[in-house]
Amino acid sequence: MTPAEEVVRAEQLTKVFRTPGPRRAGRPPGAGRPDGPSSDGLVAVDHLDLQVRRGEIFGLLGPNGAGKSTTIGILTTRVLPTSGRALVAGVDVVRSPARVKRHIGVVSQTNTLDRSLSVSDNLYYHGRYFGLGRREAARRAEELLERFRLADRANAPVLSLSGGMAQRLMVARAVLHEPEVLFLDEPTAGLDPQSRLALWDLVRDLHARGQTVLLTTHYMEEADQLCERLAIIDHGRILAQDTPAALKRTLGDRSEIRLALAGDAQQAASLVKGVLASGDAEVVALDGTVRCFVRDAGSVLPTVVAEASRAGTVTNVTVEEPTLESVFIRLTGRDLRE
């Protein structure tokens, strides 16, 4: 890969929050890392390496508190990294934040629309901030309202928009100045299924026009459906990085047997592990279920069920092709949901 194709690059990016922030699952600094920072704080992003290529949709998939927003925050100049380096469009985010801002479009996790302005003025003034003339800003605002199906709301106050509309307006605003990279932080969190599909279509459409997109999500379907490449992130660290198909292939030709159990899932898991002789079978206990990643699920299924029954009553059994969620569970022993 030549540097010219690379629009975002992070090298050993690290962020330690000194002040105790909103309490969530985070790692104490230095945990599992002898050279980690020794002062107190919370490691939100931990030596993260990342490259996003021009024109691709790249995803950061991880559970709540994984450090996704912090990573986006650093790349969009709003969070200062503790160490490491990040370049966006070839410009260093710490050294030249104002220049970086020219090249990026950002949709934050929370609604940041300008409540004092109407829907179309949100777009118009955004264009003006980016140096467009009156005419051009107005023309693009109008065009985007049309394309994002917001034209009939042009003069409405932004507070009157539904969640899905507000989100579309945020995306429209973020692309109005034709940024080199579009950052979408959990763009469909909290949206109803229909709005989610509509937003996916918009993102695909932008992608078809050549837009580079870096998005975060904790929905594995979204990562699977939308992203060409993705990084699985947990506790601020990248655990795996590849295309969705390749990540799923890391499970080999294994599929997932999922047992729901009234009983001790932990014990059931170790019993099952004991009887699955084959070396590459993996068994994880999670929220009262047992997940077994095995080859040839059909033939081992009776043994697995029989063994698990010794620890409690098996109430449900499913066999599935591996999903990104299976990949995540296998990497972390946890699932993506909060």
Partner: protein, 260 residues
Amino acid sequence: MTRTFLALLARDLRVLRSTFPVFVIRVVMQPLLLVFVFTYVFPKIGQAIGGSGSTTSFSTVLIAGVVALSIIFQGIQGVALNLVQEFGYTKEIEDRVLAPLPIWAVAAEKVVAAALQGLVAAAVVFPVAAFVPATPVHLSVDWPVLVTLAPLAALCAGALGLAIGTLIPPQQVALIFAIIVLPLTFLGAIYYPWQALHPIAWLQYLVLVNPLVYMSEGFRAALTAGVPHMALLWVYLAVVGFGALLWAIGLWGFRRRVLS
């Protein structure tokens, strides 16, 4: 960068225009009430005010103070209250923070927007002073002082607004009034020249930490003749000095709020 700065300013003016009646009330109410009560009602009901001075000179003394007060109030209302809200409950300032210019310039735009409102508010005092008082107001305008001092005072007030807006947590907006607005205004040499505090020496020196004192004194120099005022050198030094200090504090607070 200049274009972006002007666009941010245009946005603020757009918002002002769309809430124009609110702006008018904000700018007119305070001078109107002050001037009405102190220079119309009191003389009419024979309430003695202004100590040894005559009521005529009290009206004259007051006008300079009201100009200074109007400017300060726009700094607090135009920037501080807005910022407290935008930082506290909504994150909407983020779009402007992501505009392609350095953070300090985004903060500077807020100060300039407040300063412009302050100048409008100051200008409004003059027609009010011309029509409302029962006793005549004798103004003798020193133009060079007025046109230099007014923008400096307005910028200083904007910087004060920025500092307050970024330092006060949103749950404590009420504090703005209790610990900042009230002492600032009641001890701002608005109703009396600073010199008149002479009998209470400790207070006379204590109020020197209040930037409004220098503004009132400066406007007294710019607008009246025959009323004692502080030397202009101190006025300019203090307004610029306080402005710079408050700008530094405000910028520090602004960065702390938008960067983590």
